[in-house]
């Protein structure tokens, strides 16, 4: 895989390039949006690390242009603007993820790898977190390489959670995904399926756990 870093600050770019190299991630560096566009045309990248505060064209503008052109390239926005509204603007413009400076490099690496895994998973249909794997096409689940028998709805919930490991999946979203608009379901239906899936994962010795955020939803995270 090859990552393109677009960052105008020379020191930060240098440190980031060094850190990426040490983590075994091949990367190129562009200082300006214009330069980045040229490089994106000529080479094949697996992800884009984009500073939103570029001197020539705002990173957001570049991102919007890329998305309008139909590029599916995963983008992690690096922003010095921390205000909530500005972060949301970044995500709206088509960033897959964002990090506010100063960020932890391990965090960046993890998000980068998650995005890349998701990319790979989209192609193969495989989702994974810890020792849990799910083939989203066949809906077959595995824990530690052993097959885990789950119902279609349990698999659907597992897919929702595995697509957003470490992030909250709201109950609203789960209901929308599990049941059609016309379908009748009881108010604790999702809770019931989650409970069953949680038990199955526990019994199978999974190293991830489904946490309940009462009143909000669920979250998949590694067992402490």
């Amino acid at each position: 895989m090859r990552v393109l870093l677009v960052e105008d600050d020379a020191s930060l770019a240098e440190s980031l390039m060094a850190a990426l190299a040490r983590s075994g991630i091949a990367a190129d560096h562009a200082e300006l949006a214009e330069e980045a566009e040229l490089m994106l045309e000529t080479a094949q990248y697996t992800a884009l690390l984009l500073d939103l505060g570029l001197p020539d064209a705002d990173g957001l503008t570049l991102l919007e242009r890329l998305r309008k052109a139909g590029t599916a390239l995963p983008v992690i926005a690096l922003t010095a603007r921390g205000a909530i509204g500005e972060r949301i603007a970044g995500l709206d413009a088509g960033a897959d993820d964002y990090l506010v400076k100063p960020f932890d490099f391990d965090e960046l690496e993890a998000r980068l790898r998650a995005i890349l895994r998701r990319q790979a998973g989209l192609q193969s249909g495989a989702l994974a977190c810890g020792n849990v794997r799910l083939d989203s096409r066949s809906r077959e689940m595995e824990v530690e390489g052993r097959r885990l028998a789950v119902s279609a709805r349990e698999a659907a919930i597992a897919e929702l959670l595995l697509r957003r490991p470490g992030r909250v999946v709201t109950r609203q979203l789960a209901e929308d995904q599990l049941f059609g608009h016309s379908e009748e379901f009881s108010s604790n239906a999702v809770e019931v399926y989650v409970h069953r899936l949680r038990k199955k994962l526990e019994n199978a010795g999974a190293d991830v756990r489904i946490e309940t955020i009462r009143g909000v939803g669920y979250l998949l995270r590694p067992v402490d």
Binding site: L12, G82, P102, F103, V168, L219
Partner: protein, 446 residues
């Protein structure tokens, strides 16, 4: 401690000053007009009486034929034939005393009458009159004409006095009318000034663009209001540039901090590296809060309908991973689904995020955090160690920290929450939940 000011005789209020000085002026003017007017009238009467007496004395002197013989004009003859009004005359010489006189001249104290070379008024109670020298057959005589000053003829004095009373009332009423007019005039002018003051009082960081109305102000106050508007112009410019400056500084600092954070990875000694990273994170947190503080004072208070349940859910979704990572549990309890308030959604989110982040950062592992949604209220409770009463008093002060050694900053966070609620017209309340721990409520006014 405030020291009570001694009572002041001269009031601060302009209207009170005008009324007070007008009152004093009215009293002085009434007394002055009464005294001077009365004196002038009396003086005029005295002069007139003297003129009449001098005229009569001249006629008497002309009518003197020597010896005790006096030829009077018929009008005078009649007047001096009665004792009415104490009217009498006598002609005297210095050596021989009276030589001729009217019928009732006996009472005239001629011995004490002045004998000067010119007509002289005298007043020997109860008589008043004049003594006027004249010569007849080369001899020097004085004709003395008197009038009883207590007699009914002097009724004129009383008439004057009476009319002066009426006059005085008229004067006082007139002066009071002037005073009232002045009061109304000054009041209306002061009213304009008070309007300008109200306008000035309403101007804050949020509406620095507002200016005072310079229309209809008295020209004496106009320059002051104009100067205030000029001051506001400069203040606004400086405020805006300061707010932008803070924003730019924070923005500019983040990139070098990111570099620093990355370079800290090169430090081999793990404890040193961890400390470095902590310090960078702390600086980053402080400058973020700084940016929020600057943003608060310049952010427009958008009057949007904000759904409290959605807002609280978004905040919990954003912070739940952080809460779980630090060993806390977090839950949302929505008592009133669909409840809305009016406010700036970004700022209200920021307020709740600060409260939840404080609960995560300031309570030990295992603490349960509950975010509550009520009608016009959001709350964040925890079952941690709670806040002492002493700390509570300081909690919303900017830059205050419950534990000064701690490398976080609940102080700024709560100050921001406090300020957001202030701007929104609501308030931040700190309470102790029934099960113990700490509780913070955002109470909205509308």
């Amino acid at each position: 401690m405030r020291v009570a000011k001694p009572a002041r005789l001269w009031p601060h209020s302009l209207i009170a000053r005008v009324v007070l000085s007008q009152g004093v002026l009215i009293v002085l003017a009434a007394i002055g007009v009464w005294e001077i007017g009365g004196w002038q009238l009396r003086h005029a009467v005295v002069l007139e009486q003297r003129r009449v007496l001098v005229e009569q004395a001249r006629q008497i002197a002309q009518g003197y034929r020597g010896g005790d013989k006096v030829d009077l004009p018929p009008s005078l003859e009649l007047a001096y034939d009665s004792s009415y009004d104490g009217r009498a005359f006598v002609i005297i010489t210095v050596k021989r005393g009276p030589v001729a006189g009217s019928r009732y001249a006996d009472g005239i104290p001629w011995e004490r009458v002045p004998t000067n070379t010119h007509a002289t008024s005298f007043s020997i109670a109860p008589f008043g009159g004049i003594s006027m020298p004249f010569t007849h057959s080369k001899r020097q005589y004085w004709v003395v004409v008197t009038q009883d000053e207590s007699g009914p003829g002097v009724i004129l004095h009383r008439v004057i006095a009476q009319s002066m009373h009426g006059f005085a009332v008229l004067i006082v009423l007139l002066l009071l009318a002037f005073g009232l007019f002045d009061y109304i005039l000054v009041r209306s002018l002061i009213g304009k000034v008070a309007q300008a003051s109200d306008g000035a009082a309403a101007i804050g960081p949020k509406n620095l663009a507002a200016r005072l109305d310079e229309q209809g102000l008295p020209s004496e106050v106009g320059p002051l209001v104009h100067a205030i508007n000029d001051l506001l112009d400069r203040l606004e410019a400086s405020f805006t540039s300061q707010s932008q400056f803070v924003g730019n500084v924070v923005h500019e600092l983040r990139t070098p901090l990111a570099t620093l954070r990355l370079q800290a990875r090169d430090v081999d000694a793990a404890p040193v590296r961890a400390r470095l990273e902590d310090q960078v994170d702390r600086i980053s947190h402080v400058i973020t809060q700084l940016r929020h503080l600057a943003l608060l004072d310049s952010a427009p208070q958008l009057g949007e309908d904000v759904r409290l349940d959605d807002l609280a859910r978004d905040v919990v979704v954003e912070l739940a991973p952080r809460a779980l990572d630090s060993g806390h549990t977090i839950a949302l309890e929505t008592q009133t689904p669909g409840a809305t308030v009016i406010g700036n959604p970004t700022l209200l989110s920021l307020a709740l995020i600060n409260l939840v982040a404080n609960a995560i950062d300031h309570t030990p592992r295992g603490t349960a955090i509950r975010v509550g949604v009520g009608p016009r209220a959001l709350s964040v409770e925890d079952d941690g160690p709670g806040i002492t009463l002493h700390d509570r008093e300081h909690l919303t002060r900017r830059y205050w920290r419950a534990d000064r050694k701690r490398s976080d900053n609940a102080g700024i966070g709560l100050a921001i929450v406090h300020r957001i609620m202030e701007l929104n017209g609501g308030r931040l309340e700190i309470f102790t939940p029934p099960e113990g721990g700490a509780g913070f409520s955002l109470i909205f006014a509308h």
